[in-house]
Symmetry: C2
Subunit: 488 residues, 2 copies
């Protein structure tokens, strides 16, 4: 297996693309901006989906499914929403093809034009709130805690696998509540749920914060974000949870009769994470030899490579280890391929990020031991066959924890407080990462800083301290620091 991964130092962007391709996460497709998610990439997404789905259900949410298409007129019902979402999208105008009368192939049947064009959903607030109007009549129908797993399309100009694609997979939660307080609490609950998922499963340290008004979701009163840091010092928004106020309820006229018999507009939230998280996982953890997957999201946690080849004797021991591992909840595969040599297999599993590799030869078996290698640190150790499954399970926990701690240290090392615009620019260019600085609170300054440096305000951290200071650009008074960074 030829590695040919560009090193991070040489070209971080190319390194990322190489890993996505060579680890078999995704492939380009014949459709502009759309990727093919290959089996390994999809299996990681499935694990993310299953963990999140469990957490959603545990907190009282249920799944449903709404149409792929949105009538064009729906998009303009919420004034800010249309500004943010209605522009770059896939528009369905016809519903039939016909044989080309001039010869082979098919053409669009001009007589099959739709009365109203349909938009492939870029997000589903509009069609869902149109539906909620029928479902919500009384306080008894509330809260409505619904999530949807779906594909969405945004016609992005510049795309990169997982990070930004025209079509992507995601979940979108859309909840309806009787009071403002309940809706705000729901947005906060999901914000914390995303944080726990990203930190505890994806081993990605998170900064929880609120977006500035300028960076809010189109139609939201508040947008809470989970921000992560990539190895090149750029930030990535890994998920958002929005408090929507009564904006969509008013746009779609969704009212309920309260328990004291008053008619009121419903309060709302929406929230989502996407296949982008797979890209974040690659960018946070992997190295110049390939992908590194945190054990809790790895489709295969342990691979056993028979050395030099899968003889009956070695396979008997390997199968026993595999079934013992599976019995304690560890996924394991034995690489029985006869066409490849161990060295090739080692490189292949390294590339694909399998957390633990066990090399097993007759000499090991005679000594009642196995050669165990960690993917994250490349550390190798001889472990006794007796008690091996439990030792491997503990090792996987250790790897999960070490990966998080390593990423956390990197993040903390790339968190810089600055009080001066020249220093701001210099840190941004030399070191990158999050820059904690004072800001005067105006959109003008936010945009000016972005124009001058390409850095954006990633968030106003939830744990922001009250601290008087002066805006790094204008010198105007500020009440606390916000986090800037260049971002994906």
């Amino acid at each position: 297996m030829a590695k040919e991964i560009t090193s991070r130092e040489e070209d971080y962007s190319k390194w990322y693309n190489d890993i996505v391709k060579k680890a078999g996460l995704a492939d380009h497709s014949a459709v502009r901006g759309c990727m093919v998610i290959k089996p390994l990439g999809y299996a990681i997404w499935e694990n993310m989906r299953d963990e999140l789905d469990r957490a959603f259900k545990k907190t009282g949410h249920v799944n449903a499914y709404f149409p792929l298409f949105i009538p064009k007129s729906f998009l303009s019902k919420e004034a800010k929403h249309v500004e943010g979402f209605a522009k770059e999208c896939a528009v369905v105008t016809h519903h039939r093809l016909m044989n080309d009368p001039n010869g082979d192939g098919v053409i669009v049947d001009p007589t099959a034009k739709l009365e109203e064009e349909l938009i492939v959903r870029p997000t589903s607030e509009t069609i869902i709130w149109h539906t909620y109007k029928d479902w919500i009549k009384s306080y008894r129908d509330l809260p409505l805690l619904i999530n949807q797993w779906a594909n969405v399309v945004r016609w992005e100009m510049r795309t990169r696998p997982f990070l930004r694609t025209a079509e992507f997979l995601w979940q979108e939660g859309h909840t309806a509540h009787a009071t403002k307080e309940e809706a705000v609490d729901e947005a906060a609950l999901i914000h914390e749920l995303y944080t726990r998922f990203l930190e505890d499963f994806a081993a990605i340290p998170i900064i929880k914060g609120a977006k500035t008004p300028h960076e809010r979701f189109a139609g939201a009163e508040d947008t809470y974000t989970v921000e992560a840091l990539m190895q090149d010092g750029k930030a990535l928004q890994a998920g958002t949870s929005h408090f929507l106020g009564q904006n969509f309820a008013k746009a779609f006229d969704v009212k309920f009769l309260s328990d004291d018999n008053k008619e009121e507009h419903v309060w709302a939230t929406s929230w989502g994470v996407t296949t982008r998280m797979v890209g974040a996982l690659v960018m946070v953890h992997s190295d110049d030899d390939g992908l590194i997957i945190p054990p809790k999201l790895a489709p295969t946690q342990v691979v056993i490579v028979p050395i030099p080849k899968p003889t009956d004797e070695i396979l008997a021991v390997a199968e026993k280890i595999k079934s013992d591992l599976e019995a304690i909840g560890v996924s394991c595969k034995i690489d029985k391929d006869l066409k490849k040599r161990p060295g090739f297999k080692f490189a292949e599993h390294e590339m694909k990020g399998t957390p633990v590799r066990i090399g097993l030869g007759m000499r090991d078996i005679e000594k009642n031991q196995a050669e165990v290698a960690r993917r994250d640190t490349k550390e190798k150790m001889s472990l006794p066959l007796e008690g091996l499954p439990e030792a491997i399970k503990a090792l996987l926990d250790q790897i999960q924890n070490d990966m998080f701690q390593k990423a956390l240290k990197f993040r903390d090392d790339h968190m810089t407080e600055v009080d001066d615009f020249d220093e701001f620019k210099s840190v941004l260019e030399s070191k990158g990462g999050f820059i904690s600085a004072h800001w005067d609170g105006t959109v003008d300054t936010e945009l000016k800083i972005k124009e001058l440096t390409k850095a954006t305000i990633r968030c106003i951290p939830l744990d922001q301290k009250e601290e008087k200071g002066k805006c790094i650009l204008t010198g105007e008074p500020s009440k606390g620091r916000v986090l800037f960074a260049k971002a994906y």
Copy 2:
């Protein structure tokens, strides 16, 4: 809870629509022909998906994800495929909206016309085989056993929730093989996998057969079908598995180097089941009081209703039963709603098809017993609290089995052998069901019978006996009986 379900006898079609609506399975949407799948309907689909996904993975398949859009030109690459699929579909022609210069709202930006129109996938053979060309070079790359869970769109004229909708959810398997034999075996493996799922989980008896050449999938050499019978005597195709020969490999030029170094076209299968199965489940099992869900696919298998209301004392016992049930793998909910009375709750859970209901009051608790009711037969019984979880678990198995047996008896009672066209028409109109009759093997006769009676050949049963006879329409010689029915 007002029932207001039309009885099956009065109007079977309306009965079905009533159940879908009143049990909360699906709702109409603002988009023509597209449904909203409501939480209960989606939870049943999720259970179907999870069971099938386990079975696919157990047999060596992996999941991946391919683009929603297909370039128009791809559809015409396989000649028969375009005839069958390229016509009624959603066509994306533009990628941007703009503010209407004449006022409010948005219009399609005429400058954002796509160079080549994109089709929302009606099925993915074309885009997948275009991709496989890059993935398959050598016999080492085969077999490729890939499945996709996705939404697809076919612009159907007449739609019904679950049974026929413009957008639906499905899985589509697309496999590539080095030999014809392997591909034929794969199509048969999945045919049997679908049968096992439908019979063992959905409790729907299946007839396994092959489609006639006229009824085959567009582009297939052989289509294997699983045919089920609804309570109105109409058949429903619940899934298909296709042997595609080398048709798509030739259309997309997918060749591999065999182990003896020859370049050959790849052999293929594709197979799918859809949200239509939810409709079949309703139509096979439900009654005039609502939905009946087979225990193995029920989102909630047992509901406990405190009588007359959820007091602390009753809840303590109920929670214990619930946790004991969950410990042995039975899902259970306690209906703690204070706003509804037991009678209302009973009707509601009956409507929603929960397999077992436990009524629990203080008098029951004092007698160390609980009132247990089966949804399928409405039978009620007093069971001792001691050992209740195990008794309930056994009851659920009994219900699952009884539901299958009942459906099987109905199916067998509606399987009629006829040897004469008048009898054929008379059975079709009076009794319905499957009619086993001789056919001369020609498309002309098949179409003529359909024209005269609306009955189609559902399949040539796999267990067809060799039996000489005369075609019921033409009197021409036939080698065996095939199954006719009116169908959804």
